[in-house]
């Protein structure tokens, strides 16, 4: 079981599409890929697109929180979209919705960030 992370720079937004299972084993890949893209690229904001994320546990929450801090320290915003019910419950339980805005899909997420920047 693995995880694929597809990263795309769109204007000043980094779109991260996660597919598969995000746990302690696969969290490192997400961490390094996103860290590097945020350091090298010119993106201010991040959209986490989770339509095809089939599984996530607290290790996933850890890596998302870590990137949130990274984005926020540079004055950017992080939003999530296409969240399935089980991932939604995890976000809710951990209070992540207090810091992350949720959107239905990538399109609405992008337009919410265009208002911001």
């Amino acid at each position: 079981m693995s995880l694929q992370a597809e990263l795309e720079h769109y204007r000043n937004v980094l779109i991260v599409r996660l597919r598969g299972e995000l746990d302690h084993h696969t969290a490192d890949v997400v961490r390094y890929k996103m860290e590097e893209a945020l350091l090298r690229g010119s993106s201010d904001h991040v959209i986490l697109s989770l339509k095809e994320l089939q599984f996530m546990d607290s290790s996933g929450l850890g890596v998302i929180l870590g990137r949130y801090k990274q984005v926020k320290s540079k004055g950017g915003k992080m939003v999530v979209c296409d969240v399935n019910p089980s991932v939604y419950r995890l976000f809710e339980l951990s209070g992540l919705f207090k810091i992350l805005t949720i959107h239905e899909n990538e399109r609405t997420a992008i337009s919410s960030l265009e208002v911001v920047s």
């Binding site: 746990d23 302690h24 084993h25 546990d57 607290s58 850890g62 089980s86």
Partner: protein, 148 residues
């Protein structure tokens, strides 16, 4: 189903085995015909317990073994996740939401909170240098109708 049905699983404390462990338990429990949500709750709780055993119990020493004991009885599944690792010094503190002993690893500190919330019963016992045992139980609702 009459009587109990049990299985025991031991594997190396490697992070690759986190997915194996939760899928194996899910396959075992599938005979109770759980809903997708119930199955996901179980998988998440097992993933948390196994990850804790690997990261905290064994500090990622892959020569060590994690053991899972699962038992189906009626409409319930009981799962124990055991390690012989370094144990937890302060259980009360460890169970606090958002507490982590390893913040440098980007741990969220939500593992125990998730296990408590996703399962119907949750208990943890631990001894310093004597290992940790997590015991959890969940009733599979979709089976309830048959037993009432």
């Amino acid at each position: 189903m009459n009587g109990t049905n049990e299985m025991t699983l031991s594997f190396s404390a490697r992070s690759e085995n986190e997915a194996f462990a939760r899928i194996a338990v899910a396959a075992f429990v599938s005979q109770l015909d759980p809903t997708l949500e119930e199955l996901n709750d179980l998988k998440t709780a097992v993933s948390e317990a196994v990850t804790n055993a690997i990261i905290h119990g064994y500090e990622s020493d892959s020569s060590c073994q994690v053991t899972i004991e699962a038992r189906i009885e009626g409409d319930s599944v009981s799962i124990a996740v055991l390690d012989n690792g370094r144990g937890i010094e302060d259980l009360e503190l460890a169970r606090q939401p958002l507490y982590t002993s390893k913040p440098e690893l980007e741990r969220s500190g939500m593992g125990f909170t998730i296990m408590e919330n996703f399962m119907d019963h949750f208990e943890v016992s631990s001894r310093v240098d004597g290992g940790t045992r997590v015991e959890m139980m969940k009733r599979i609702e979709s089976k309830k109708a048959l037993y009432n």
